[in-house]
């Protein structure tokens, strides 16, 4: 692809979407598909045809709009009018919306807003509720606004401009510098500065060099990466291309869990389209830079999110982590230097390069810059996918965005960081979310799972639940985790069932410390965290079970 061609196809893409007077953004992601959006979209299509307005109205099947608990969702945007969001739509309602909203709205003159009739207003979700207004979207900027299966939609919204800038105006060192300035830290859980990672990877020599996009996301109760891959796959590809240019990589791999068939399908289509358009392949934008990528699937192993295990898995081996050194940046996939980045990390990159590292660094807190996507679930009214600037307090997230408890009971704690994280009791809800503050409280940011617990949830249960998960997902390679995880789970079950003793509690503590210190990889090292943090704040719940 040459530069002049690029400008032409961008113009064409923009013209194409401008041709429609009305866009119906129908969420077509896993959550809404499960709620029946397929039938809804079919009904909408038929209704448009029967009203003869299918030429001026476009249905855009989008990625997750974030409020899956209220799906299927459809956002109506008529040119010049305020957008309206409908929720929990059934096919019958969909037909009504076309007949009673779209058709009349299309004939309204410019400047006037359409008033939704009363019998439909029950389905409308106001777009100015805190769930939407408190969010800040960078990673998810396009999700919900484009059809992820059409590269033109991405191009029309400024897609691949960052790549163009990088390839034609910047040296690899400058790209690394820009990312360093942005303060972006890895979103896969470790929080390692991305710019630093690239800086370390750049000088490594090898016949080949790889960028790997970590889309394993095995943390139960987290689906940020899935939503990004499903909602805006081109953005991740663009981020990967920029990373590759910065570190001198020759090809790239998406490692995606097989439980995400829709994400796999979308990324597959996106790669094909990007290749066809010339963003992947030889001499991109007429420069010397060549790069291509492909997809490899997981097969149901949480530990494969750990980067050395992930590499083993792509190579067709058991997903057992490898002791470091050597680091993947020295000897990674097939012995070649490799750089593993999380999906959300890469999705930030085009925005940073477009608007500048300084812009990104101005968002969030000094140690934690930018935004973070969370999967807010558990006992809150609006559970779903959100993106907020770093430094927002847990209280704002839970009480305003999440709308407070869903059960009417008091919120007891919030769990962050999944099986490697911990619980934060409600008295700390005014803590701003950022890497260091959460760590101080004995939890971690992790990849972005945020689970709200209420008075009904018992902390011994919660700890046992996570241990059950990690013990089950232990790769079995090293004894502290393989046997320790199982023994810790047994002890927790014993306490849970009321048969535990104070000696067991002491043993739980000793064993937790041993696993932390002696496990080979992050899974075993962090597996006791849910136990330690529940013990720290809720030891009384353990003692109650022991006394009874």
């Amino acid at each position: 692809m040459q530069l002049t061609e690029f400008d032409k196809i961008v113009e064409a893409a923009k013209a194409k979407s401008a041709a429609f007077k009305c866009n119906l953004y129908c969420c077509y992601s896993t959550g809404c598909v499960s709620s029946g959006c397929g039938d809804v979209v079919k009904a909408v299509q038929e209704a448009l045809v029967s009203h003869g307005c299918d030429k001026v109205v476009r249905i855009v099947k989008t990625g997750c709009m974030g409020l899956c608990s209220h799906g299927p969702l459809m956002r109506v945007e008529v040119e010049g009018q305020k957008p309206v969001l409908y929720s929990e739509i059934r096919p019958l309602v969909a037909r009504l919306i076309i007949a009673e909203h779209i058709v009349p709205a299309l004939s309204l003159e410019k400047g006037a807003d359409f008033n939704v009739p009363d019998f439909l207003s029950g389905f409308v979700l106001p777009l100015d509720i805190p769930f939407f207004s408190k969010q800040m979207k960078i990673v998810l900027a396009n999700t919900g606004h484009i059809d992820p299966e059409l590269i033109d939609d991405y191009l029309a919204r400024g897609g691949y401009q960052a790549l163009k800038k990088v390839l034609t105006e910047m040296t690899p060192q400058q790209v690394v510098e820009e990312v360093l300035t942005s303060g972006l830290r890895g979103r896969g859980g470790g929080g390692y500065p991305t710019g630093l990672k690239w800086k370390n990877a750049a000088p490594s020599q090898g016949a080949e060099k790889f960028v790997i996009c970590n889309g394993d996301e095995g943390d139960p109760g987290a689906y940020m990466d899935r939503s990004v891959l499903e909602g805006d796959p081109q953005c991740v590809i663009e981020g990967m291309l920029i990373a590759a240019y910065a570190i001198g990589a020759t090809s790239g791999w998406f490692y995606i869990r097989t439980e995400y068939p829709l994400a796999v399908d979308r990324v597959e289509k996106a790669i094909k389209q990007a290749r066809k358009a010339g963003f992947l392949g030889k001499n991109i934008f007429g420069t010397k830079f060549s790069f291509d990528c492909d997809i490899r699937l997981g097969a149901g192993a949480f530990v494969c999110g750990e980067e050395t295990a992930l590499i083993a898995s792509i190579e067709g081996r058991r997903g057992t982590p490898h002791p470091r050194p050597p680091y993947p940046s020295q000897k990674g996939l097939w012995g070649m230097p490799s750089c593993v980045n999380n999906v959300e990390t890469l999705a930030n990159v085009p925005h940073i390069l477009m608007k500048g590292g300084a812009w990104y660094a101005s968002i969030g807190t000094p140690e934690s810059r930018g935004t973070k996507v969370f999967a807010l679930t558990g006992k809150v009214k609006h559970s779903g996918l959100i993106e907020v600037p770093m430094g927002m307090t847990l209280r704002t997230i839970i009480e305003e965005i999440g709308g407070g408890p869903s059960t009417g009971k008091k919120i007891k704690a919030v769990q962050t960081g999944g099986p490697s994280g911990g619980v934060i009791p409600s008295e700390f809800l005014d803590t701003p979310v950022c890497y260091d503050q959460l760590k101080k409280l004995g939890s971690i940011m992790g990849s972005g799972g945020m689970i709200v617990l209420d008075e009904d949830d018992n902390m011994v249960d919660i700890a046992a639940f996570y241990l059950d998960f990690t013990a089950d997902e232990s790769c079995g390679q090293c004894s502290p985790c393989r046997i320790g995880g199982r023994q810790l789970l047994e002890l927790l079950k014993k306490v849970k069932s009321g048969k535990g003793s104070m000696d067991d509690l002491a043993l739980i503590k000793r064993l937790s410390l041993t696993m932390k210190k002696a496990s080979l990889c992050g899974l075993g090292q962090t597996a006791p965290n849910p136990v330690l943090s529940t013990l720290k704040y809720f030891e009384n719940e353990y003692l109650e079970r022991i006394k009874n």
Partner: protein, 583 residues
């Protein structure tokens, strides 16, 4: 190699770059406990016993798989570290049966020793011992997965060193176990080399024990028990009785066998001399008049034979058809010797004391193993089984007579016979005699030193008379592929073979590093054992197989010509393609 300076427990030392902390610590006179690391094998970090603290690092690291670096400060022992190690050890013990008293490794077990050193006095955790039945279907080694601590040594050996891939880790988490892929070991590609048992730190894989059979035979008045010892046994057995590795204890072993009640004691080295007569003849014949059948490939290692039959059967045509030395001694005992002494061969119980688990399989491998009209060798014991018999017998090994001689004629050997036990030895012994067969006179120097050593693959071109002989030696089955693929490529492209003569031994180091030898072997010990054999060779007046007068007599009285009809009948065997997996 570059060196770096570091501190271990505040003692400054120098170590070579890339060396791990575990080894470097020895230079500061510190022993860091370890369990899963074996000096032969790369570290996997499986056990978690060797953890140490590094100044400035948040987590403890594993000494076995962390390389030293300039300025590093290591703490190897403090109450916290020892406490964590102890808890890890308690965890390992909680997943391990308490069966020391009936275990094959009682007294030699690395886990048992650690438990003793750490003074584990209670079981803090409830046992979570898996319930998996043992597997003895190879009749060479026994797998007891319940005792496995998942150190991964056997897997590394079987997959990487031996390239057999019989063993694998299956399942994951607490269910992780060692096993072949969905079949018994006997139905798997296992070539019975026993290297897994040699490297296992505990009693989870050990030699298939047949000492009971031998005890029974020894106390049976009807039976005439005869033993033979392999070359490699004499230089390793001493390790169990406090001798340094490599000490040659041939006389003591002969004496011990007599004390045990064997009526005659032979030496496999004699059989090795016979093997050389046949193999060198085969070589001279092919070299001079049938070059299309070159390279000649040696076959006295049954694991290599099994490996070739399963993975490289297109090489069968190059194989020497000559049997291995102990089979030859077995056959000759029940024919030549029995006739000479007028003993009923069916009453002879032939016991081979071998460095090898695979010989247990070899003795019934094909019909040729019954050349005497009955099973030629009745039992093959490993060095380790033999040691246990000696310990049970009350014999004070160190007091035995080093001057004891073996029985004639199957006990008299040349220097060429004894070096069979080390990698390159068969090649060297064969070249000595082949020189004679090709040129008509003995070689000027009997030492073919260029082919000695412990590198996995060694090649050398020897000048013999006006001829140039290209040789290659490989040991450790993982090294075979390279040689074989060169031969294969040459054949496919119609070129002359890259080698004339190839020796392969399955075990690293050859039989001195055999799968049935004393445990804890590493290359330093292999070197010493090999040197023990070479010095035995040097001490011999006769160092050429064809100059051994008893060999000459054997051919005159019984066998006729090498490769002749009688020799073929008794001394040769055949090979067949076998599937990797029985279906």
């Amino acid at each position: 190699m570059k060196t770096v300076k570091l501190k271990i427990n505040n003692v400054e030392i120098e170590a070579s770059e890339g060396e791990n902390i575990l080894n470097a610590a020895k230079k500061a006179s510190v022993n860091i406990p370890s369990l899963c690391k074996h000096p032969d094998l790369h570290a996997t970090g499986a056990c978690g016993i060797c953890i140490v603290k590094l100044k400035g690092a948040p987590n403890m690291v594993r000494a076995c798989c962390t390389p030293v670096s300039e300025g590093m400060e290591v703490i190897t022992h403090d109450p916290e570290i020892v406490g964590v190690r102890r808890t890890v050890l308690e965890l390992i013990l909680s997943a391990h049966p308490n069966e020391c008293l009936t275990c094959g490794r009682n007294g030699t077990c690395e886990l048992q020793r650690l438990a003793s050193e750490f003074a584990i006095r209670r079981e803090s955790f409830n046992p979570v011992v898996p319930d998996i039945p043992p597997d003895s279907t190879t009749n060479s080694i026994t797998l007891e997965p319940r005792k496995c601590i998942k150190c991964g040594r056997c897997i590394t050996v079987c997959q990487e060193k031996q390239n057999v891939w019989a063993l694998s880790f299956l399942e994951r988490g607490i269910d992780t176990r060692i096993a072949p892929a969905g079949v018994t070991l006997g139905e798997s590609p296992c070539v019975r080399c026993g290297q897994c048992s040699e490297h296992c730190p505990v009693g989870a894989i050990f030699e298939f024990d047949e000492t009971e059979k031998v005890w029974a035979a020894l106390s049976d008045p009807e039976l005439y028990c005869i033993a033979q010892i392999a070359p490699a046994v004499r230089v390793s057995i001493g390790e169990a009785f406090g001798y340094p590795p490599g000490t040659n204890l041939t006389g003591q072993i002969y004496d011990a066998l007599r004390h045990l009640g064997f009526k005659a004691v032979f030496d496999t080295n004699f059989g090795a001399d016979v093997t050389i007569m046949e193999e060198a003849s085969e070589f001279a014949h092919r070299f001079l008049s049938a070059p299309e059948k070159l390279p000649l490939i040696t076959t006295c290692c049954p694991s290599w034979v099994d490996f070739m039959e399963k993975f490289h059967h297109d090489m069968i045509e190059y194989f020497s058809s000559c049997k291995s030395p102990h089979s030859i001694v077995g056959t000759l005992t029940k024919t030549y010797y029995a006739q000479k002494l007028g003993i009923d061969p069916s009453k002879i119980m032939m016991v081979s004391i071998m460095p090898c688990t695979s010989k247990k399989y070899e003795i019934t491998r094909t019909g040729n193993m019954y050349a005497s009209g009955m099973q030629d060798v009745d039992v093959a014991l490993t060095t380790r089984e033999f040691i246990r018999m000696l310990q049970q017998s009350g014999i004070v090994f160190n007091d035995l007579d080093p001057e004891t001689q073996a029985d004639s004629p199957l006990g008299e050997y040349s220097g060429a016979g004894v070096i069979f036990g080390t990698t390159g030895g068969v090649m060297e012994a064969a070249l000595r005699t082949a020189s004679y067969f090709i040129t008509g006179h003995d070689p000027e120097s009997v030492d073919f030193k260029q082919i000695r050593g412990l590198e996995g693959i060694r090649e050398f071109e020897f000048k013999i008379g006006g001829h140039s002989i290209r040789t290659a030696v490989a040991h450790g089955l993982g090294n075979v592929e390279t040689l074989i693929s060169r031969v294969r490529a040459a054949r496919e492209e119609g070129r002359e073979a890259p080698y004339h003569f190839i020796e392969v031994m399955a075990c690293p180091g050859g039989c001195i590093g055999g799968g049935g030898q004393s445990w804890n072997v590493d290359d330093a010990i292999r070197k010493k054992r090999a040197e023990g054999l070479f010095s035995d060779d040097r001490s011999k007046a006769i160092r050429l197989s064809h100059r051994n007068p008893y060999i000459q007599k054997l051919y005159e009285e019984f066998l006729g010509e090498p490769l002749g009809e009688t020799a073929q009948k008794y001394l040769h065997t055949s090979y067949q393609a076998r599937p990797e997996y029985k279906r």
